[in-house]
């Protein structure tokens, strides 16, 4: 049996849920699939309060956002979602296959497909980087914030971007010590407010420092770090042994772009956005008619921008289906403005630079 929703959304994180909300509100028969146990994507482990504008739930803890996004549509008969359902393929005739609970194959032939698959974690090269006890930062968050299991007793955090800083703080909240946060760049990459919280807890942030080695046979029993020079090379004589029983990698994410490739969307390698991303227009439509992108799958950014992109994709898909969402043009402009506000200033430099490489010209604006 082939399911034929008007809109199929792959991924139920901030982008996918926002897309669903707009599509369902506009009256589209919408199905959302996600491979996790719960909706919300990475929001389910974000215990910190969000920044930004009220429209993206500033001041609300990330874990509370999925239910807010779902609230308006959860009882709508046009909306259904399937959990523990992994998208496994995209075929030339527009059919998406998915595996439900590891044993049932489902087929979908939607009119519009929104891909909001999110991202996966990067790793970096060092000796023994495959040893048990070397974890992605997101994995550590899942283990402790969703399932209440400690990753270890003493961690070493690699990376002082927002994720590295936030997860270090969350480790302390969970009663786990953090020996240090090391960062190869000359300065902290994350927001100062997060860095200050770490500093107040007495966790040293070591910039211009890298990890050389995870020590241990069967699992992490320590680590060696060293200072780096201007060319990011370890400086001999600065090596230091760190006592830790796990190492947490917060060294960036890359977009999960497999399905765009399968669908032969035009792709670009954009380092500023974390890897290969689909070329898209202002409505979040890819180079393949009927396929839209939203959130980290289209470039690594933040949950706030993912929610706006999702809304834009859901709205555009609904409009293309002839559903004429209420006040379409105004809402669309408002969303686009919100996005540019989020991306303005020096913090958004790399995002703007990245997007310039994979955005199509808007006919209406030229």
């Amino acid at each position: 049996m082939i399911h034929e929703p008007e809109v199929l959304i792959i991924g139920g994180g901030p982008a996918g849920l926002s897309a669903a909300r707009q599509a369902v509100k506009a009256g589209c028969k919408t199905t959302l699939i996600d491979d996790a146990f719960d909706l919300g994507g990475q929001l389910v482990k974000q215990t910190h309060k969000f920044f930004g504008s009220e429209m993206e739930y500033a001041g609300v803890r990330g874990i509370k956002i999925p239910e807010i996004l779902l609230d308006e549509i959860k009882d709508d008969s046009n909306f259904e979602y399937l959990l523990r359902t992994s998208a496994t393929g995209y075929y030339e005739d527009g059919v998406v296959t998915a595996l439900y609970e590891n044993n049932e194959m489902l087929k979908f032939k939607p009119k519009k497909l929104i891909i909001a698959t999110g991202a996966s974690e990067n790793t970096i090269p060092f000796v023994n980087n495959d040893l048990p006890g070397v974890y992605g930062a997101g994995a550590v968050q899942t283990l402790m914030n969703v399932y209440g299991v400690k990753p270890g007793e003493m961690g070493l955090m690699i990376g002082a971007g927002n994720i590295g800083l936030i997860v270090s703080y969350q480790l302390k909240q969970a009663g786990v010590d953090v020996a240090a946060v090391v960062e190869a760049a000359p300065k902290v990459g994350g927001y100062w407010v997060h860095a200050s919280k770490i500093a107040r807890l007495g966790i040293p942030i070591k910039t211009r420092t890298t990890i050389l080695e995870a020590i241990g046979k069967e699992k992490v029993e320590g680590s060696r770090i060293a200072s780096v020079d201007e060319n990011w090379q370890p400086i001999p004589g600065t090596e230091q042994t760190i006592n830790c029983d796990f190492i947490c990698l917060a060294v960036g994410l890359y977009p999960l772009s497999d399905i765009f490739h399968l669908a032969k969307c035009e792709m670009k390698y954009v380092p500023e956005l974390g890897g290969e991303v689909p070329v898209r227009d202002w409505e979040m439509k890819t180079t393949i008619e009927d396929i839209y992108v939203a959130g980290d799958a289209g470039g690594i950014e933040e949950a706030s921008s993912a929610m706006i992109e999702g809304a834009l994709a859901g709205l555009s898909a609904a409009n293309a289906l002839g559903k004429e969402p209420e006040d379409y043009n105004n809402v669309k402009c408002q969303l686009i403005n919100e996005l540019s506000e989020l991306r303005c200033g020096p913090v958004g430099d790399h995002i703007r630079c990245g997007l310039a490489q994979c955005s199509m010209e808007d006919e209406n604006e030229s």
């Binding site: 996790a36 974890y135 992605g136 994995a139 402790m144 399932y147």
Partner: protein
């Protein structure tokens, strides 16, 4: 290594169940990923790599990295970071690529 007290979170845990790991009987909470239950008991090595036989453990927690493939109830290559624990499950470190029965 459970977190018992947390300033923000209340953990909604399923009922306590027993399961088998190799020749041991362990407990965990129903519905949590098998990997979380194993981790609670300090079991970090979930499999060994195919070519160089190096120990591998929990890494991504989203079913993407293949570092946690184990044999569960006789079925090989189960991603235990995204497979819910059920009472009576038999969990083993699989040999190589595992065997389909």
């Amino acid at each position: 290594m459970r977190i018992e007290k947390h300033p923000i979170l209340d953990f909604k845990r399923g009922k306590k169940v027993e399961f088998q790991f190799e020749d041991r009987t362990l407990t965990g909470f129903e519905g949590e990923p098998i990997a979380a239950a194993l981790h609670d008991h300090g079991i970090m090595v979930l499999k060994n790599s195919l070519r160089h036989d190096r120990p591998r453990g929990f890494f991504c927690a989203i079913g993407h990295c293949s570092s946690c493939l184990m044999e569960v109830d006789g079925c090989p290559n189960v991603r235990v970071c995204v497979e819910p624990l059920k009472a009576g499950m038999v969990v083993r470190r699989q040999q190589g690529k595992g065997v389909l029965r």
